[in-house]
């Protein structure tokens, strides 16, 4: 990721865009912050928000014509916020908190003609910036049209308070001028720039046409002259007076600095915003009415009214994603962290864990109104980390070794249908289904061979997605190449995938191969006669994240479920919006506790018993304690009639075992081939209590590893002994991780009491 890419990405996330109210406000008052302060009864804080942006807050706060109210998102579920009444409450009960400083004098004389609100604003803004300002008016008081307000709305003493304010910033106010040609000549001679407030009688008699100022700069025909304010075709708007005064002051600043009057002024005045706020599900609330309308809101009423503010933000992706919630940030800030992490040459790369915790599932991209590509960013960053050797070795090693095992001699195999030498079809169950439900793989295969003509081959292996997810592109490419070569060797049969990750990988990376989902095939086929009782009704479907963009597969699954007579209640976050179970992006390996959270969150999307059609979703949600079955459990029920909803998560060791046994079993029963020789250490028989098994699962220790440790300890006698209880403690480092096992010989094998591991290399270890 380079700087321009970072900028583009940052601009894609709209969380930091202005809320609708501030965008609609001509001077961009932070209405959301104002409401936030009032809601928590921070009255001074609320006043500070106004003082920061609003000129003459005591005046404007009483009479603001609240253009923001028309933009308020609250109107979608209730009444828009009573912003004007709240401003009035604030300025009438809390005196000024923040007096803006006056910058040091910097020359440049400005004449402000007239004394209406836009003249007042222009004079104030320019004086604050250190300009020498003279306000010249034919009137005897300030305020222009504002003097028409009733005393109870805008008391005369408050309005004339503006004179003191302007005075305190050094504005020289001169009343009683006659506006004529002579006056104009004096003004032009004595000042570098002039602002004409159109809320002022007598402008027409001056030799300057103030009727059509430039809308962007408010410049009029004469050089250095600007005009604004007054009544327009839309009537007399208070905030328009303020806007014009401020806009003219900025133009005059630019004019005096001799810089462009027009560059980068798009965000002045009311402007559009891209902030996206969903109000669905927010309770509708009516505007709070003051008990005594003549005195307006009380403190309590103000807090109550302000607390109706939704505090607009986007956060739509964060609301749904366990990963974004865990790192408490939205994509804009995360990409910045990723960029900074990449730039570190020496020091700790604190964002590594975050980068490896994204499920790469693309849910946020679907939710985002601008399709923020979080998964693409995280995955390509991982690839970059691998290339630069900054990827932490422990993050994905266990998952990659699992993949290696699935592709190795004990699990992988490719065969034509028994008794045939060609294949029109090739069943590819995928590593995780073979690991989770080997019986279902066998039964599905038998069903397919019985119903499809032309030969159905079988390939056990792994599509390589763990390598892709972990950024190991070279390994992934190799895996894809061997897979393609193997498919070519079989005569390019149509591949039938049971796993939607395999399906997605083949579609994207081997587009020349023919691939269909098992569910599409089964949907068009006679279904097996179901032998289990119909499960409790209704159930909910947990779509896997890898079918997010495959509506046909999702539809086939639903058809099959319907044919089975199972009724379904859809959950809101299914289909295109479905969550990942934590396996995606290898998140559950790089961040074990977060993986558990993600699985739990997915399982809790519905109270109903679940039905999954991805083996990892099924197992992870089952591990989180929910009742959930795999669709194949109902299509091809196991003989022992156990309730598929209660089938436990097999865990990593059992998955290994299942894959190896499946291969042996199928070779033996269908192809009548000799089993593959197993290594010596497999002769070690283990008794592992359930709590130790659970420990091994979270610590990523396999039965295989334990067998290796004990085998080697028993062969060499190198082990520690506890004379108290006769337990042994031994260690072994097969590749990079050193495993420790506390065990005890038993009549038929070994009881495992504990297992742990470390990566630190001890003296005498191979490096």
């Amino acid at each position: 990721m380079d700087q321009p890419q970072l900028r583009t990405l940052e601009a894609t996330c709209i969380q930091e865009e202005s809320p609708q109210c501030s965008a609609a406000c001509p001077i961009h008052i932070d209405v959301r912050a104002f409401m936030g302060c009032l809601a928590k009864e921070d009255w001074r804080g609320a006043r500070r928000v106004l003082d920061r942006t609003m000129p003459f807050a005591d005046i404007v706060g009483r009479i603001c014509d609240e253009p923001c109210r028309r933009a308020c998102k609250r109107a979608e579920t209730g009444d828009p916020l009573a912003v004007g009444s709240l401003e009035r409450f604030c300025v009438t009960t809390v005196p000024m908190v923040l007096k803006q400083p006056r910058l040091p004098a910097k020359g440049g004389s400005v004449a402000v003609i007239g004394s209406g609100l836009s003249a007042m604003t222009a004079a104030l803004d320019l004086a604050r910036k250190g300009r020498n300002v003279v306000m010249m008016t034919g009137d005897e008081e300030v305020g222009g049209s504002l003097r028409g307000y009733a005393e109870e709305i805008l008391p005369a003493r408050v309005l004339s308070g503006a004179v003191e304010t302007l005075d305190s910033y050094g504005v020289n106010i001169q009343f009683g001028w006659s506006l004529n040609k002579e006056f104009f000549d004096i003004v032009r001679q004595d000042s570098d720039a002039v602002f004409f407030d159109r809320d002022c009688a007598g402008l027409a008699s001056l030799p300057v046409d103030c009727t059509h100022p430039d809308p962007l700069t408010l410049a009029v025909g004469n050089d250095g002259c600007f005009a604004g304010g007054g009544t327009t075709e839309n009537g007399f708007s208070i905030m328009k007076q303020v806007e014009d005064g401020r806009r003219a002051a900025l133009s005059i600043e630019r004019y005096l600095q001799k810089v462009s009057l027009t560059a980068q002024r798009e965000r002045e005045g009311a402007c559009p915003t891209r902030l996206h706020t969903v109000t669905i599900g927010i309770e509708s609330l009516k505007e709070v009415q003051p008990a005594d309308p003549s005195t307006g809101f009380t403190q309590q009423e103000s807090a109550r009214e302000a607390s109706r503010c939704i505090q607009c933000e986007c956060m739509e992706c964060v609301k749904q994603c366990a990963f974004l919630q865990e790192f408490k940030d939205y994509p804009k800030r995360l990409v910045r962290k990723i960029y900074n992490n990449q730039a570190i040459v020496q020091g700790t790369r604190t964002a590594n864990k975050m980068i490896n915790s994204c499920m790469l599932c693309g849910q946020c991209t679907v939710i985002c109104p601008h399709d923020f590509p979080m998964a693409t960013v995280c995955r390509s960053t991982r690839e970059n980390m691998v290339a630069k050797s900054t990827m932490p070795p422990s993050a994905h090693e266990f998952a990659l070794q699992d993949m290696e095992f699935s592709l190795g001699e004990f699990s992988a195999m490719t065969r034509h249908q028994p008794g045939r030498d060609s294949s029109r079809f090739l069943f590819y169950p995928g590593c995780q289904l073979a690991g989770s439900a080997p019986f279902a793989v066998e039964q599905t295969y038998l069903h397919l061979t019985g119903h499809l003509a032309g030969g159905v081959g079988l390939m056990l292996g792994c599509c390589g997605i763990p390598a892709h997810w972990s950024g190991r592109q070279e390994l992934f490419n190799q895996t894809m190449q061997s897979f393609q070569a193997e498919v070519n060797r079989l005569g390019d049969p149509l591949i039938i995938t049971a796993c939607s990750s395999c399906y997605a990988v083949f579609k994207e990376f081997a587009p020349e191969l023919q691939v269909q989902s098992l569910w599409q095939i089964l949907d068009r086929m006679e279904l097996p006669e179901r032998k289990t009782a119909i499960p409790p009704q209704p159930m909910t479907i947990h779509d896997p994240c890898t079918v997010r963009h495959d509506p046909e597969i999702r539809a086939s699954v639903r058809n099959i479920i319907k044919k089975l007579g199972i009724s379904i209640e859809e959950q809101p976050y299914s289909g295109e919006l479905t969550d990942c179970c934590g396996y995606g992006g290898l998140m559950q390996f790089a961040n074990v506790p977060l993986g558990e959270k993600a699985a739990r969150a997915k399982g809790l999307r519905s109270d109903l018993d679940g039905l999954a059609y991805c083996a990892m979703c099924r197992d992870n949600i089952a591990a989180s304690g929910r009742r959930i079955a795999h669709l194949l459990d109902y299509l091809f029920p196991a003989a022992e009639q156990e309730d598929p909803l209660l089938r436990p998560n097999p865990g990593f060791s059992r998955r290994h075992e299942n894959r190896a046994r499946l291969k042996q079993h199928l070779l033996n029963t269908l192809w009548h081939e000799e089993p593959v020789m197993t290594p010596d250490y497999k002769s070690i028989k283990l008794f592992i209590p359930p709590q130790v098994m659970e420990l091994m699962n979270t610590r990523h220790i396999l039965e295989d590893d334990i067998q290796k440790v004990i085998f080697q300890a028993e062969q060499t006698g190198k082990r520690l002994v506890d004379p108290e209880n006769g337990h042994f403690l031994a260690s072994f480092k097969p590749v990079r991780v050193t495993y420790w096992v506390e065990y005890q010989p038993d009549k038929q094998g070994y009881i495992v009491h504990n297992a742990y591991s470390h990566r630190m290399i001890l003296p005498g270890d191979a490096k």
């Binding site: 020091g347 700790t348 790369r349 604190t350 590594n352 864990k353 932490p392 070795p393 422990s394 993050a395 006698g717 190198k718 082990r719 520690l720 002994v721 506890d722 004379p723 108290e724 042994f728 403690l729 260690s731 050193t738 420790w740 504990n754 742990y756 591991s757 470390h758 990566r759 630190m760 290399i761 001890l762 003296p763 005498g764 490096k767």
Partner: protein, 69 residues
């Protein structure tokens, strides 16, 4: 982690040599960084004990720190 001592009374004895373990300075290494630490070791064959709390505590912490360097 360098120059830290992780010695503590232990029931474990070397099964090979039938000796009590004794504190000894050893070098452990990860990602190119070497640390000289005191661990419980068999005085005869040099078998080094890494107890569970060390492996899952300080050692893991240092491993992860080094991986992010």
């Amino acid at each position: 982690m360098s120059n830290f001592s992780f010695i503590s009374e232990t029931e474990w004895r070397c099964g090979c040599c039938n000796k009590e373990l004794q504190p000894r300075k050893v070098n452990v290494e990860y990602m190119g960084s070497v640390f000289n630490v005191e661990l419980m070791v068999c005085p005869v064959c040099g078998f080094v004990l890494v107890p569970e709390d060390l492996a899952l505590g300080k050692m893991l912490e240092v491993e992860q720190l080094l991986e992010d360097k």
